[in-house]
């Protein structure tokens, strides 16, 4: 599927009505989801979505789940904690483009994977909370949880402003991670504290190699 087509399909998905600030809830924007999955899809070196078992960690409304299915994932399991997000996720799954059984949802807390890798998958994709509000460090908790789940690789989205800090944390944890793409993220005016109409932030797509762990 061409990137424009992918983006257009993803823009048909439903969005949060009452997003929760504490969970940094918002739908991953179609062009970002399309870029993330489009990047791996186009990559010869990291062709890691097609026919893979994927986990979408902190799946929210399922934008990355949908993007992974559109780019050939064999099966995606969304992991999500919040009941309202799960309701939106299931509503988006009803779209006729998705054969229901390629898309499962498990209700769980991402932190439960920090000490026990109780779920397995080939690849984990995630748009975690950025951890720049009063939840510092939650972004790297998602990376650690994802690293415990994946056997091939983790793809995770982070603010470019946190790159140096993440590099330090990854090195300390012994993770083999690198920034593979930079994107512009147009965070919509979802929350009241966003003063400007659309706030543009730079984000990094990180890839953590899990094959050698």
């Amino acid at each position: 599927m061409r990137p424009k087509e992918l983006e257009s399909r993803l823009s048909q998905l439903g969005d949060f009505r009452n997003p929760k600030l504490s969970l940094e809830q918002y739908m991953t924007r179609p062009h970002i989801a399309a870029q993330i999955l489009g990047w791996t899809y186009a990559s010869e070196e990291f062709d890691e979505i097609e026919d893979r078992l994927i986990i979408d960690l902190g799946a929210g409304g399922g934008a990355l789940t949908a993007a992974a299915i559109y780019t050939g994932a064999g099966k995606v399991i969304g992991v999500e904690l919040d009941d309202d997000a799960i309701a939106l996720n299931l509503q988006n799954r009803e779209n006729e483009d998705f054969e229901e059984c390629r898309w499962d949802v498990v209700k769980a807390d991402v932190r439960s994977f920090l000490e026990c890798s109780w779920l397995k998958a080939d690849v984990v994709i995630s748009n975690p909370p950025f951890g720049t509000k009063n939840n510092a460090g939650v972004d790297f908790e998602f990376v650690r949880a994802a690293h415990n789940i994946a056997s091939e690789a983790v793809y995770s989205l982070h603010k470019t402003s946190t790159r140096a800090g993440l590099e330090r944390k990854a090195a300390k944890a012994g993770f083999d991670g690198e920034v593979v793409a930079e994107m512009q993220f147009d965070l919509p005016k979802t929350y009241n504290f966003h003063k400007s109409k659309n706030k543009c932030v730079s984000v990094d797509l990180w890839r953590f190699d899990c094959a050698k762990k």
């Binding site: 078992l53 064999g74 399991i77 904690l81 059984c101 390629r102 439960s112 109780w118 779920l119 998958a121």
Partner: protein, 123 residues
């Protein structure tokens, strides 16, 4: 919850050693036909615990359709691959419970979604 998902999950109750497989107590089971992707099925043969898949099919009342032994990842027999495909992706527990094999802790499955949250006093 499809059985591929079940096969990838364990109990994460603290302080236990036997985490897998989660026992299945089904209330509602349905079968939804899915597009057959032999490459994906072959790939999954190297990932799944085959005995647990057989056990899960028995718990759901669909025993007897899977081959006795786990096929290899280069299996080409379409009937065999389709039987595995059916078990992994087409049989779904809609309502019921997953049970930790050691502690007996029950995880409810509602609307096809297993709730794997532990209470605060359990973590």
């Amino acid at each position: 919850m499809k059985l591929l998902t079940h096969n990838m999950m364990q109990s994460h109750v603290k302080g236990i050693s036997r985490r897998f497989p989660l026992l299945i107590k089904p209330e509602t089971v349905r079968v939804v036909e899915q597009e057959f992707n032999p490459d994906f099925v072959r790939r999954m043969l190297g990932r799944i615990e085959y005995e647990a898949l057989q056990q899960a099919m028995t718990w759901l009342g669909h025993e007897g359709k899977l081959p006795k032994d786990c096929p290899s990842e280069d299996e080409n027999n379409e009937d065999i691959l389709k039987a595995i495909h059916h078990a992994l992706l087409e049989v779904e527990m809609v309502e019921g419970k997953l049970v930790c094999p050691e502690s007996g802790r029950e995880f409810p499955v509602k609307n096809g979604i297993p709730n794997m949250l532990l209470n605060e006093d359990e973590v």
